[in-house]
Symmetry: C2
Subunit: 336 residues, 2 copies
DNA sequence: GATTAGCAATCAGATATAACGAGTGCTAAA
DNA sequence: TTTAGCACTCGTTATATCTGATTGCTAATC
């Protein structure tokens, strides 16, 4: 669609604007290696690119800034996605090799690493419990009226919760509970833990509602409970010039303060490996002035949740996407 | 020290300024019920109060604002600490009666409640593990090379962690581990889990270093690990006029982004039930433009950690202190 | 002696005006 | 097709002026 020179002009403007946060003028562009033309020629191209909607002006006599369409074209067609240095590769590798006992800890490490390398605010959410199968469930008596349930899933995730009772229970009972639950739950999806199961177990076993009901309720709660959200480098955004606007700064704090919103951000559509939402492309009204880049990460082939970056539309897409691609690959290759 | 009328003037200025965030002039004060004097009289009193350091001017012909000394006097001598409405009492009571299975969940609920009622940013940290005694430690085999350790403390706190091994272990071994650890750890402080214990157990038991060492290491880690920090209502601060200053806003984000700093804030001196640090009174340089109010909360007589509010020096001390006092009492009375 | 009315002096903040300059669009020449 | 040239635009910055809230002080009053 765009001829070669127009592509070069657009690319140069996007990258210059990402670097400087200042509207880019025709004379500045003549400095560019790839654009050995006079400023007048560049100006004509810029006017064309504006007519086709790739560029915008902040006012009649200002330089140009990319429109959302411009950023989109840049992301889809023009950027380098291997924009990552040897030092960065080394740093990431070291970080990802940290030994962890619980696989979830790796999400936190990855989130921090991404934020450190890209200098953007990074968020992450743990894996969804949907599609998980129960591998085993263990009950441990912690006191006469206190039981711990430990659920092991087929992906190696471990969830545990404490259950309190209004009457005493003994080891013998726990053994039966252990047996019955495992009998019924092995290789079932987590969602099976619900009212019908409760009724079945109450009928089947001789124990009262007062024993079975709290177990089911509490396990259900821990399965459905808000997934852990990680947030790193919120302050990094405040070093960016767009955060000199109080409205932008305030919007941003509202976003990161709202866990539900962050969950939604991280859970929205996943067509590709790495998903880029620029400004209005975001479903959420609150994000229309920001860009969001997310990717679902897996360790080996185990789903580990989603990591995302939120920053200004003038984001260094090339750097962020390169880093995410590299990390994505690195984690996939990783044994656990 | 201050005569009665000066106290009234100071109190009126502090409270008016807390309400409006605007310097208070002598004419405005004549509206006050308690100050039926002419503006000239008030002016003279204000000049005196400024000379003694309780008030400040933003410029020669502006109204007065309280100095830190003024706030301090207000907090120590003038404020009402039962400034809490029936609706608020009802709301708090309801919230605090929420059933929780783990006592830590109560800290989160309390934090949210305080933030909702005061409209200030609220932070909290879980209890210190110092002084805790081990009541019991349980080991559960989750896989051939995976063990869960569950530590019960004398305060009802439960910590659990997963330990991975490089060689298989069996139920028989776990039983021995269970026995030996409990033998050695019951009613001991958590800190006992360290290298000397490791050496003792390796000598005493026939198991290799490869079994004992990971257990000790991982338990030690979970005990020493950063205590959970709760943060609520960060965005609420951004509704305050002082956050229109970019410097203030940025400082604030830096504070709440820095977990270590927040931990330090919540761990600093605890002379009284409720501790108020106004501006420069804060140990941390970063907080010199803010006020911090903290209190250690207990459920029954069990230490639950510390909750704090961070806001502008122009904070509604009366409301915050009243709410904290009430919650403090309510939690102390609470059975678990 | 304490209180108050009156008034000049002060100064932040709002409003108005002018000068500056980066950058554009367009025309005509190369 | 490219480029030089130039009038024009408009945000930004600097400067001056005006406004109004508030003070400090003096002298009159209670």
């Amino acid at each position: 669609m765009l001829d070669d020179r127009k592509k070069k002009v657009l690319k140069a403007i996007v990258e210059e604007y990402i670097n400087t946060a200042e509207p880019v003028g025709s004379i500045a562009l003549t400095q560019n290696e790839d654009l050995k033309y006079s400023s007048a020629t560049i100006r004509n191209e810029m006017a064309d690119l504006e007519k086709s909607g790739y560029l915008e002006k902040t006012h009649t006599s200002s330089g140009r800034i990319p429109s959302e369409k411009g950023y989109r074209y840049y992301v889809d067609e023009l950027l380098k996605d291997d924009n990552i240095s040897l030092e960065e590769i080394k740093y990431i590798s070291e970080k990802l090799e940290t030994k962890v006992n619980q696989i979830e800890d790796l999400t936190k490490i990855t989130t921090t690493t991404i934020s450190e390398i890209t200098h953007y605010t990074t968020l992450a959410i743990g894996p969804s419990t949907q599609d998980l199968l129960i591998e085993e469930i263990k009950f441990v008596l912690l006191g006469p009226r206190m039981l711990m349930a430990i659920i092991l899933t087929n992906t190696g995730m471990i969830k545990e919760t404490i259950i309190k009772f209004e009457e005493d229970i003994n080891e013998k009972q726990v053994e039966t509970i252990n047996y019955m639950f495992n009998q019924k739950l092995k290789n079932q999806p987590l969602e099976i833990i619900d009212v019908p199961l409760e009724e079945y177990l109450i009928n089947e076993m001789k124990y009262s509602v007062k024993v079975i009901k709290p177990i089911i309720e509490q396990i259900k709660k821990v399965i459905l409970q808000d997934r852990q959200i990680y947030l790193e480098g919120a302050n990094k955004s405040f070093d960016l010039p767009e955060f000199n606007s109080l409205t932008v700064a305030k919007n941003f704090v509202n976003i990161i303060d709202e866990k539900d919103l962050m969950t939604d951000i991280l859970n929205s559509g996943f067509a590709k490996d790495i998903n880029v939402y620029i400004g209005d492309e975001n479903e959420k009204e609150e994000l229309k002035d920001f860009s969001v880049i997310t990717f679902k990460h897996k360790v080996g082939d185990k789903d580990m949740g989603t990591i995302g970056i939120i920053g200004p539309k003038r984001m260094d897409y090339s750097k962020v996407i390169s880093v995410m691609k590299y990390i994505n690959k690195k984690l996939k290759d990783k044994g656990i």
